[in-house]
């Protein structure tokens, strides 16, 4: 029986979803997504605001009921077994949701109590996470007076107090400076090394690139799924970088070409995605620009994750058409 195989040891994914759908009235926020998130990996949700990342995470931790589809988290069916899984899940909300008027230590102590940690373990865990996330010197400070990076460290510390097997992090770094983001990701990799599975949503390309695997979401659907390197290699477009004296004129000329899928400007350069069927895309770009009497140089380059994102979401144009409908 094929089902029997799924139950064997650690081969079963940490999260498995089939046809997961959530509607709010007439709006479909999440539209039939399938997920297989392996254990002890960082899995990313990359997508713009409103693409269904938060709604999906909320369904995965049992806070929202799916309108259709099935979810199993750590071999438990959700949302039915949500309460059984509470001590095995850690959830970090998009907005800082610890208590501004409590101190760092009071917040940690409170969360440890709520997770039912007995006194000796509670003390040990509070000082362990304080050490780990560099919070010891902030113990007496109220959470409301912390900086963005400090708050986010506190939130992650609170989410890991009870040593969960699965962490669900909803845009954890949206209000955080680059240095703090770096440190935050180092902490995530340390957790993964201990066997924790992490699902993290983001709209930063550099963060998405750090994930073992990721899903690109747009309008509630998964439009691409896989390891970042695979996604970049398999992009259905050729990427050409153009250096032109008159970038505006170059842009106009390229947008008019039917083989050009998308043009993005990066300083004085243009980043051009071209139909992969085009032979010698760099040459094609130069011809086109020459015809429009724009002086330029062009190079064929490797696709970035942003290119993958643009390609997966329909090169901007299709997405625009979708919105218009």
């Amino acid at each position: 029986m094929p089902q029997a195989k799924l139950d064997v040891g650690g081969t079963e994914p940490a999260i498995r979803a089939r046809g997961l759908t959530r509607r709010f009235g007439h709006v479909t926020a999440v539209d039939g997504i399938d997920l297989d998130i392996p254990r002890a990996r960082i899995y990313g949700f990359l997508g713009p605001n409103g693409s269904g990342k938060s709604t999906t995470i909320r369904m995965l931790c049992g806070l929202l009921r799916p309108s259709a589809g099935t979810v199993s988290v750590l071999s438990h069916e959700m949302p039915r077994d949500a309460e059984k899984l509470r001590t095995r899940l850690g959830y970090m909300t998009q907005k800082f949701s610890l208590w501004d008027d409590l101190t760092v230590s009071e917040n940690l102590e409170f969360m440890a109590q709520v997770f039912g940690l007995a006194a000796p373990r509670r003390r040990a865990r509070v000082s362990a996470v304080a050490e780990e996330f560099d919070l010891t010197s902030l113990f007496r400070q109220r959470a409301g007076t912390l900086s963005g990076g400090q708050r986010q460290r506190l939130a992650l510390a609170a989410a890991t107090l009870h040593q969960p097997e699965l962490l669900l992090l909803d845009e954890p770094t949206s209000a955080v400076d680059p240095q703090s983001r770096r440190e935050f990701w180092e902490s995530l990799f340390e957790l993964v090394a201990r066997g924790v599975t992490i699902l993290v949503s983001t709209h930063y390309m550099d963060e998405a690139e750090r994930c073992h695997e990721l899903a690109i979401l747009a309008s509630g659907r998964i439009v691409a799924q896989g390891a970042p390197q695979e996604l970049m290699a398999a992009i259905p477009a050729a990427v050409v970088e153009v250096e032109a004296a008159d970038t505006a004129a170059a842009r106009r000329a390229l947008v008019a070409d039917e083989t050009v899928l998308s043009v993005a400007q990066l300083g004085t350069r243009l980043h051009v995605l071209i139909d992969p069927a085009t032979p010698d895309p760099a040459q094609r770009v130069l011809q086109r620009l020459g015809a429009a009497s724009v002086e330029a140089q062009s190079t064929l380059v490797r696709a970035s994750l942003e290119d993958v994102f643009v390609a997966a979401t329909g090169f901007g144009r299709a997405a625009g058409e979708q919105r218009d409908r």
Partner: protein
Amino acid sequence: MLLRLLAITTKEVRQLARDRLTFGMIIGIPLMQILLFGYAINFDVRDLNAAVVDEARTSHSRALVADLQATGVIVLQPPSPSLADLRHRMESGEISVGVVIPYDFERRRSGSDRAVAQIVIDGSEPMIDSVARGLSSVPLPARAGDYKSRTPVFEVRTEYNPERRTAVQIVPALIGVILNMTMVIFTAAAIVRERERGNLELLIATPIRSWELMAGKLIPYVLIGLIQTTLILTVGARIFDVPINGSLLDLYLAAALFIAATLTLGLVISTFARTQFQAFQMSFLTLLPSILLSGFVFPFDGMPPLARMIAQALPLTHFVEMIRGILLRGAPLSAMQVPAMKLGVFLVITLAIATLRFHKRLD
């Protein structure tokens, strides 16, 4: 289990202690109200429940009773056999006016300078002066133009509040009004605040159970309610000489029951309101009818049937009845079973609604 409950309570007390404004209101609202309401307010009445002790049993005494009833101020209940029974019925709150016609009624009527009969009034209820004046001006009936313009027909006797001071009528009920106000608003806001600030999303993703969350949040407010009760009683006794005739234990038991009922009402509101402002508005929506219909200012007896029905659904109505009975008439809690039961029913119903409506989910 107890750990989580305690964790919530501790957190709530800490937050409350740091929220200076709210903390100030806990003490400030009762003080302001008692000082405002403590000074006189007078009113007008109809349809008070009354019973007669007719020791004379003559045709004239019956005519007098009929005339009293015709004024519309009183509604006659079955007569009492004795003055003791009349007092007992007044103590339990069944009647608020008693008419005593002495056995020597006929003799007094025909000559004596003494009043011919007595009206006994429950002074723990407001607007007593106008009732007394209205009834005592009823002329003495007689056959064939036998009216004489003479000394008052009735001697008016006000029980439980002999000096007829409004403060005595207002202050006990004010305990209920203040508790109703602070308990409903503060508990509704305490839960909605967590929803509004996003704390609730984090809390419901923890193993905490709904009842632990609710009970943990309510416990501090029960204590605050009892502190407020003490504050109003002390100020009432010191400044306005409001007597405490009943037992303090009975009084605090009644207050605790009422506090529980208002807290669950606050919980129900918290399951409907999305923002603290909505919670505040909804609390106010329950507060206004409570103040107007509970018998706190306007006597319950004069209201149209619909208003009475609404009043029955308000916890304050029953608490005002209990607190006046205990504090002013010195009635034991056992004489207050009916309002206590009604409060209990209210508590059970609201608790059931709150529990059914509160989910550990966002949808």
